[in-house]
Symmetry: C2
Subunit: 314 residues, 2 copies
């Protein structure tokens, strides 16, 4: 039993209550705290040294990343973040300058989005530095976007470019808060998620939650320059398309929208966000599973993704 299987086993046993609108399994928990038109969003996310960042990483960027990951989850619900608490587990010989710089990164991003840092906790740990962020936010009840709303026939969109994030972008990315809120107001968006595990993995979450399948057009998937450069640099690197599908840590938005609105949505987006690509990469289908269409035909991507990717489907 690995930790993901274990958490899947535990999820149905978790204590629930009438105020819990959406529990474990979406980007944020959704809670009814008694507001007339809004729900509360609630999320925690941790980064661990040598797992999510290297010891040599710029601490201001580590702080930025820790908060940006949690804000990206609020964005994925089309929400507005309000306040964050920071839990810092420090090894015995911690550097004061490192902590101060990490907080500079946290504070800078927080101010950019009018988020307060409401405190938190610092604890000693015999282990590596761990930085956990808890965030609360708010979303209009009629604009909250879940993973479960996808419908067969929906067009699939992704913001930005994918792959190669670990070469630097994972420490500096901007959570797509304004973009997601705009989408919830202007598009017929049915399902949304932020890309943390990679396009193939996170699309699975939408498919599982919505009970649909998907077909991606390989030629449409926007591949980041970093992924192309990596492929050029060494034979051990993933092919760029595979990197875009599986690298993870992109923190872009993946969403499905009514197909009839797709062209209008792309036009309006270009007008509003001229500096950020929005790409239609495929569609949701009644046929279950995840398929990739390229010039050779249609391949099936199974759940292990990487291993089976190179084999054409029968």
């Amino acid at each position: 039993v690995n930790e993901f299987q274990l958490i899947a086993q535990l999820a149905p046993t978790l204590a629930t209550a009438p105020h819990l609108i959406v529990g474990a399994g979406d980007d944020c928990a959704v809670i009814d705290v008694g507001l007339a038109a809004h729900w509360l969003l609630f999320k925690t996310d941790a980064v661990v040294e040598s797992v999510h960042f290297e010891a040599e990483a710029d601490p201001a960027q580590v702080g930025h990343k820790a908060l940006a990951r949690a804000l990206s989850d609020v964005a994925a619900m089309a929400g507005e973040p309000l306040s964050a608490l920071i839990t810092l587990a420090l090894p015995d010989r911690f550097s004061t300058a490192w902590v101060q710089a990490a907080y500079q990164g946290l504070n800078r991003l927080a101010r950019k989005h009018s988020v307060s840092i409401a405190g938190g906790e610092t604890t000693r740990s015999p282990g590596p530095t761990l930085l956990s962020v808890a965030v609360v936010g708010r979303v209009a009840k009629d604009r909250c976007l879940l993973r479960s709303g996808g419908q067969p026939g929906d067009a699939l969109f992704v913001t930005g470019e994918l792959g190669g994030s670990l070469q630097g972008r994972h420490l500096t990315f901007q959570p797509r808060l304004a973009e997601a809120q705009w989408l919830a107001r202007h598009g017929s968006i049915h399902a949304m998620i932020d890309l943390s595990d990679g396009l193939a993995g996170d699309l699975r979450h939408i498919l599982d939650a919505s009970g649909v399948g998907a077909e991606l057009r390989a030629a449409s998937i926007p591949i980041a320059r970093a992924a192309k450069n990596a492929a050029r640099a060494g034979s051990a690197a993933k092919p760029p398309l595979l990197a875009a599908l599986t690298d993870g840590e992109d923190f872009e938005l993946l969403f499905s929208a009514a197909a009839a609105d797709a062209v209008g949505l792309l036009d309006a987006w270009k007008n509003r966000f001229p500096n950020l690509r929005l790409t239609c990469i495929g569609k949701l289908t009644t046929q279950p599973g995840l398929r990739l269409r390229d010039h050779q035909g249609v391949r099936t991507l199974d759940r292990t993704g990487y291993a089976h990717f190179a084999k054409p489907s029968s």
Copy 2:
């Protein structure tokens, strides 16, 4: 610079926003999310193996403790907890049974207080097991109890009995939620805190936040049997009164109330909570500092507490 000094340095630099009613420095952060009569309470609290619990501890009790600590902070504001998120950092060779049992402890306490476990995160860590709990709750705006409301002349009260918690009670204590909510409705309570660092240390927080001093009556301080037994068992143990003042992890309520209401409050409490002691242990004073009155006179307790406790004041 130790981690407490560092956090004190960082606190004034934290990003703030108009919705933040109370930030770092009280038991919970207090946030205005737009409710007419309530504020949101927001808190995180972590327990770390070999710091807050031993590897051999009953995992169900570890789960219980992790949530109970966070709920105790909600109690200290006279709030009602709603929902919790669990962050679990697991070493590479984690035990499935340990995690399942920890969640049993979490779920049992959550259900007792109608708290939902809304999900969370499990991450691998090269370090020790770490369990961080984020909690949101609610409190009526006119009943929210801060550390800063203490007034000279107030009577000081404590629930339960203090000292010796590490002999077992720290893993099994019950957060005083019903008691705190009752106090906020029925008493003229001015300031409240939960006892995590020990009576002497946590009372300092009320004194600092309220700009007052205090005088404790040594003979009135309720000492737990565990602290008395420990003192009897070995010469290396703290004297029982010192244990009650400094052991920490009691998770009882410490509060100040208008002196004129003290007797009525004690009577009403006995009627409502016959199985939990409530003790008046002293008073708040205009004279700053913390003093202890016993049959020999009045001693000053300085900030280092332990070291200077045995010396009579000049």
